[in-house]
Amino acid sequence: MLLAFDWTQLAQQIVIGLSSGGVWATLAVALVLIYRSTGVVNFAQGEMAMFSTFIAWSLVHHGLSYWGAFFLTVALSFLGGVAVERVVIKPVERAPVLTVVIVTLGLFFLVSGAARWIWSPEVRSLPNAFSTRPIEIAGVAFSIQDLGTIAVSLGAVGLLWLFFRFTKLGLASRAAAVNPEATRLVGVRVSWMLALGWGLAAAMGAVSGMLTAPALASFDQNLMQPVLLYAFAGAVLGGLGSPLGAVVGSLLLGVLINLIGTYVDWVGTDLRLPVALAVILGVLLVKPTGLFGRAEVTRV
């Protein structure tokens, strides 16, 4: 029985799953960054990522190479994220949480509409990020594109981790997310830490978008909507307060969905999303704070 099992296919499907999961992971980390510091889920994160992807397209259209456009777009998206926080979020800093949620929903429509307005709703395509040749590892054929996507996603997340763990600004940002009042008392301008969080989240979103687009033959302004949902699922699975959880959750989800899609017959492509949602709901019911989430102890 074991010999008859197709290990090659399993390995390949796992890698494919990790590749999708990696893309979702970068967007999921963006969601968690903002959730951790503002207590709000940014429903517009996907559309912001889509907008960044279109900026990348424009840059490529004007002659830049894919990777040149990639890094420039990440930088521009960072600035864009900071700007959005200062202009749209800061005014409602002290408002009830649901008000801020509605603001992000408004941002969803605004950014979505802006992208359709600036770049008309025709399909476009981005050049491939990696070569489409397959590569053989231990006798199994994998796609360089998948491996490259995994590498870039994990690389981006890794850089972020280094920033938070080893720099002074990263430390201040973490502290501001945990206890803004006390952090103010050590001299940190907490308000700007929020802006930093939004900038980093936008940058991560841009990475996610720019990894999603090339894999498709063509894309339009609806590019990131399914990605956002999967990113939510991954973040919730891992526990919304934990960036590590978001990454692990998304990777796990990617592999899980791909394996279910491959090995379970009645799950066709349009049932992938409901299956993902069902998985999250299941996890939430068993462990309401997700796999890595720590139950928040509320003081009465």
Binding site: Y35, G39, V41, F43, V88, P91, V92, R94, A95, P96, L98, T99, V101, I102, V103, L105, G106, L107, F108, F109, L110, V111, S112, G113, A114, A115, R116, W117, I118, S120, P121, Q221, L229, F232, A233, V236, L240, D270, L271, L273, P274, L277, I280, L281, L284, L285, P288, T289, T298, V300
Partner: protein, 336 residues
Amino acid sequence: MRRWLGIGVWVLTAGAVLALYALAPHLVSDFHSRDLAQAGVFFIAIVGLNILTGYTGQISLGHGALMAVGGYTAAALAVHEHWRDVWTIPLAGIAAGVVGFLIGLPALRLSGIYLALATFAFAVAMPSLLKKFSGLTGGGQGLRLLEQAPLQVTGLSGTVTIFGHTTTQNHFLYYLTWGIGLIAFVIAWLIVRGRLGRTFRAVRDSEVAAASVGIDLARTKTLAFAISGVYAGVAGALLAIQAEIVNPLSFTFLLSILLLVGAVVGGLGSLPGMVVGAFFVQYVPELSTRISSKPGVPDFLYGAAIILVMILLPTGAGGLLRRVARPLTTRLYLRP
């Protein structure tokens, strides 16, 4: 003396509202009555959502899906069982109330953002679910009341005759929807003012404190979900009757988002504000399209409007109403 003055104000307000209700369709064009009727649908759904989110503190991004339950129940009864469309409304409400209750069950273990995402997942999954059970729901095509429901009160003729009166279809839809809306509003107001309302608010303000005074959290939360579900179901049924067709595209996650936007813009915890919320959700998208129909511009303007309103009025229209009305009501009720 003060007491009579207080009662007098209430009577005057009620009278003004009823007069407005009766006369509105005659003050606007026939076509606009239809818009007003749709605003009424939003109003009912948002009032229900407010009871759940504004008064009980449970976030739901899935009320569009509950409207779908109501809408499809109404349509299925009309099409498959040949019920008269208006009689399907109560059953649609009950069906959605039951589903709301069922959603309330996992809500007991989830809170805040997790609850929001779980309900959002439900809203996202709904169109796929509707397409899957095509025997009942007509799949991607949906159910067409205009052609398949013989006992439709509204129909191709453009006029409706009820209790001997003949009126245009749009006027009928307006009176039906807002009539139910007014009744729904009064019921909500009574709930919120009474003991149940206080229980809801206790759960919203502090679950731990509420539990420690003996409030059954499970019962309260599921009840709130059920009640708001009934409202959503009734609204969904009315939407089905107005549109004369239901299909999965009528109830996407965007509807759930619109409902929440309407509830917050109207002002969570304020019932009168819900009128403002309903009109915002009905008319602002339309106005945006009228300003420019270039692709993307209406969404852009709509998003900008939402953001602006939230920045200027963080507690919604209801919050503003409360701030304005406070000096008036204090004068009426607190002077010795």
